[in-house]
């Protein structure tokens, strides 16, 4: 799939009509989501033919993008049923099969080495301090290949350090910086 095509399809997805502030719900834009997944596949081969989990999937943008990039199995996980219902609709509109689980990421219990790659646009911890690190820490527990996550510039250095020091990450790298 071409980047433009991916971005176009993601641009048509339904998003939150009334985002819940306490959950830091905000849509992952089609521009950033398409580039993120495109890079993850084309530079690291971590999507096509892989098992991909989207943590805090919300309306499912990254999960749908993974599926469009030919992930073999995609699991979207979110605490909010309403978001999962929209994700379900988005997937079925595009005739994609995505498994969805309603779960609080910090209480997730996923066994074994089945998940290759975790992608996420997590809460930044603005409203619920530490939520971003809970997501990272669980992602590193679950992914047998890599975790790809979006963060604010102001927390970038902290997250890199904490991932290496506290979450047993083998390496932590900034792949892209968005400037305004």
């Amino acid at each position: 799939m071409k980047l433009k095509q991916l971005e176009g399809l993601l641009g048509d997805l339904r998003q939150f009509s009334r985002p819940k502030v306490e959950l830091e719900q905000y849509a992952t834009g089609p521009h950033i989501a398409s580039r993120m997944l495109y890079t993850v596949e084309n530079s690291f081969e971590d999507i096509t033919g892989k098992v991909v989990a989207d943590f805090g999937c919300g309306c499912g943008t990254l999960a749908v993008a993974s599926s469009l990039m030919d992930a073999e199995h995609v699991v979207g996980i979110d605490i909010d049923l309403h978001a999962l219902e929209i994700a379900q609709e988005n997937a079925s509109d595009l005739e994609l099969d995505i498994d969805l689980i309603q779960c609080d990421i910090k209480n997730l219990n996923l066994r074994g080495l089945l998940v290759d790659t975790v992608v996420m646009n997590p809460p930044f911890g603005t409203n619920n301090k530490g939520a971003d690190m809970e997501f990272i820490s669980m992602g590193l527990k679950v992914a047998s290949r890599a975790v790809y996550s979006l963060h604010k510039t102001s927390t970038r250095e902290y997250i890199k350090k904490a991932a290496l020091r506290n979450c047993n990450a083998i390496s932590a790298e900034v792949l892209c910086e968005v400037t305004k």
Partner: protein, 133 residues
């Protein structure tokens, strides 16, 4: 939810030892055919918990779908394996990726805590006082 997801999902309820495998009670399921990917199936085979997968197919009322012991890599790699209807590769593919649990319950094997599956989505939420320490 498909059985590949069931194969990785465990309960985090207080009192759970491993919380795995979740017992499956099925009210409604459906099938949706998709193209098998032989390389993917060969890669995932050694990572599966085979008894958990077999138990799940039994819970679906499909005791004939999978054998008690997993297929060998040679069986999955055999020429024409992906085309052989009813062959080991197609059966594994069907079990993992074509069966969708629509309505039912997942039960924690250690605590009997029930997690409902509604419209395909298992609800694994726990109250704060129910979470494993």
């Amino acid at each position: 939810m498909r059985l590949l997801t069931h194969n990785m999902l465990a309960s985090n309820a207080r009192g759970a030892v491993t919380g795995y495998p979740l017992k499956l009670q099925v009210v409604k399921w459906s099938t949706k055919e998709v193209e098998p990917n032989a390389d993917f199936l060969r890669g995932i085979l050694p990572k599966l918990d085979w008894p958990a997968l077999v138990a799940a197919t039994h819970a679906l009322g499909l005791p004939e779908l999978l054998p008690e012991t997993p297929p060998t890599d040679a069986e999955l790699s055999a020429e024409g394996a992906a085309e052989e209807e009813g062959g080991p590769l197609r059966r594994l593919h069907r079990a993992l990726l074509e069966i969708h649990i629509e309505e039912g319950t997942l039960v924690c094997p250690d605590t009997e805590r029930c997690f409902p599956i509604s419209r395909g989505v298992p609800n694994m939420l726990l109250h704060e006082d129910e979470v494993r320490n």
